[in-house]
Amino acid sequence: MSEDRIPEIPLFDRARQRRGYKLNKMAMGLSQPGNRAAMRADEDAYLDRFGLNAEEKAAVKARDWKEMVRLGGNVFYLLKLASITPATMTEIGAHQADMDHETFLRERLGKQRKGA
């Protein structure tokens, strides 16, 4: 994949979107209760329905948000995976920023936690 045109920003352009189409479609599927049940019952079978390759499947199964975005996933779709394995938006952000959650909240979002 080409370098980001703007540093640190995976702009959802044509190349990225086309690369991530299947991955995003799989995640979009989780809007349907039946698909959520199917993924919970047999994750491999659910992912195979969307034709994900081995690299994509591994990233999804590891809930590797950073890798899924690198592979063309867009967080608006990927977020639906949190209905299977709970994760907050800030946890997903921290993972992409390579920070632990508390550090991310403090350094990126300026949060002062109690006792800190």
Partner: protein
Amino acid sequence: MAKLIGGLGSSHVPSIGLAMDKGLTGTEDWKPFFDGIGPGRDWIAANRPDVAIVVFNDHGNSFFLDKVPTFAVGTAERYDPIDEGWGPRAIPSFEGHAELGWHIVDTMVERAFDPMIVQEIEVDHGLQVPMELFFSRPEKQWPVKVVPIFVNVIQYPVPLPSRCHALGKVLREAIESYPGDDRVVIIGTGGLSHQLQGSRAGFVNPEADRQFLNDIAADPDKLAAMSREDYVRLFGSEGAELMMWLVMRGAMDRKVEVRHEHYYVPASMTGAGMIVLENLGA
């Protein structure tokens, strides 16, 4: 003819809706945000609009990447809240103003904007949250009819900021040529600064956000002249949603009075803002 009585701006962060669902509005994280929305609700109560035109983007809920309209206008009688993956939220369906929606479509096409026409669609937090912030959450029925206007701000190419501003001017013309005496508000939604993707995830820019809240009232031409890349750099990859406030602003007079302004950061990962504008003429 219908009358545009106000231009409203609001973030549509899903966590704001979740905070209301879970009764967290008084917590340390959320109280400073919710404390500042009261004057927006008071303005609505005092000015009693009949219709809200809500300019927002779907977030991979009603539209997938298989069909991506740059601009889409709702012409339905009713819009249900959508299941975004966690089950539908316990809020009433929105009654659509189908006739005004069609009139907006007619006017847009006559003015060389060519929208997708949508007669059946569910609406996500992009519309829900601003409606809840301004109108509270009713038991059974919202106090206004809605016309949703969807803008693609996710899949590039997204429209130019200047085009969003120009669309607002066409919406003003549509409102003022619509028969009857409906009192209309237009709500620009999204932003403010946030980035959800990539190594710069968690980027917020409070200084730029405050300048935006100033400029959207005082100098919208400056905001309309900026490039899409300017928005992404200044406000983050998802902060480009702020272009949708320009649709609202384009519908308003050149001169406006700011009746309310509120800013708080962070709402989840986002700079959250609200503004209420009234027309002053010209």
